[in-house]
Subunit: 215 residues, 2 copies
Amino acid sequence: MAQTDTKTPRERYRAQVRAEIKQHAWEQIATTGASALSLNAISKQMGMSGPALYRYYASRDELITDLIRDAYRSVADTLRSASAAGADLAELAHTLRRWALEDPQRYLLIYGTPVPGYHAPDDITSISFETMAILLDASATLPSDGPATPFDTHLAEHRDWAGDHPASPAVLHRGLSFWTRMHGVLSLELAGHFTGMGFDPALLFTAELDALLAH
Amino acid sequence: MAQTDTKTPRERYRAQVRAEIKQHAWEQIATTGASALSLNAISKQMGMSGPALYRYYASRDELITDLIRDAYRSVADTLRSASAAGADLAELAHTLRRWALEDPQRYLLIYGTPVPGYHAPDDITSISFETMAILLDASATLPSDGPATPFDTHLAEHRDWAGDHPASPAVLHRGLSFWTRMHGVLSLELAGHFTGMGFDPALLFTAELDALLAH
DNA sequence: TGCTTTCGTTAGAAGTTATAACTAACGGAC
DNA sequence: GTCCGTTAGTTATAACTTCTAACGAAAGCA
């Protein structure tokens, strides 16, 4: 989307077509899910015949990788802007939930069942780390009472995943708990496991959030 | 697997072939995931040509539905036998984790991203309820201290999903928290989101479990 | 022994991803 | 302005997939 005014007109056109392909791919994914994404269907929607699409994406996996990258970037941008606006951990949680409900398949694309042979490229893990850093920043502002758990001491020696983030083991622990608990509720809700059970998933989400913040 | 000695020899043979198909399907799913399951590949492995398999399963979806049913039954049986052996909620959690790690794709098949057009038949929801009942039984034996949360009062009026299980709102709440938190850690672990982060997912799992039990 | 049901086959339709080979058009250099 | 290389899009094709249709053969049953 950003800066299509780079270099040659050929590259501008190429970027535009790639963006259009991704747009159709997102629409298709939103309804049928990522596993049913069809390059053929996209090319037909765009009015060009099958193999033309392979000038823009070498394979179906490469397109999906691009979509996954965009999804990671989207959640990172959303949380970052919320954090920049002064959101605390609780508000970040609701921001995350809103982002997930906005396009469930987009959430499931990055946090759901992985595609069999797929392996994430390096730049995705770096974007993923940025999201984690935002959560750790928000976790650090909260008071961390209570004694250190065995997992805290384990984290003190296994904190390579946090990079050089200056977070105490307790904060790292809270960040991981935040991630897994929010994902636990969200993923089950998005997968439809709560439908027909009668209760409101939003209340379960906030209940889990409150329990986490109250420690 | 059970009671192949029913009625006519034709039905015995039919049940045997269906079991063999499922066995090959599980092997295939364990390596490639459910979305890449190929009826053609199964029939070739069994030494018979493609469409022969349609005598036993009307469609790919019907085979997957059968696999999902078996997975639900498997987790229900595993937890029930553990519960019958006197396991408390903590031991049930580790039993669930062991069952999930035993065949990650089997766990993801029922708790992961759902197949696009798939809708679970009624008998599956009843088996799923049995699993929930076991968790609620184990949750009821624990002391539930602390004041009632807003979600507890909500559950008091939205407890149809628990059937006629005699559990207090607090116990219902704990059952749901148990489910979502264990799933949160397990699904992220099985999806490979912890690989390369350095820490031990088992310790995070027990840390979450301890936090839940300590309330 | 014959009848009927069912099993497994081949053939084929309608999809899919992906490659190969060709044409046409576009953009930059002279 | 013309020429020429790059690139876009085409059709044809291969190798898959699920699934249907029609046929032959085998097995069970009376």
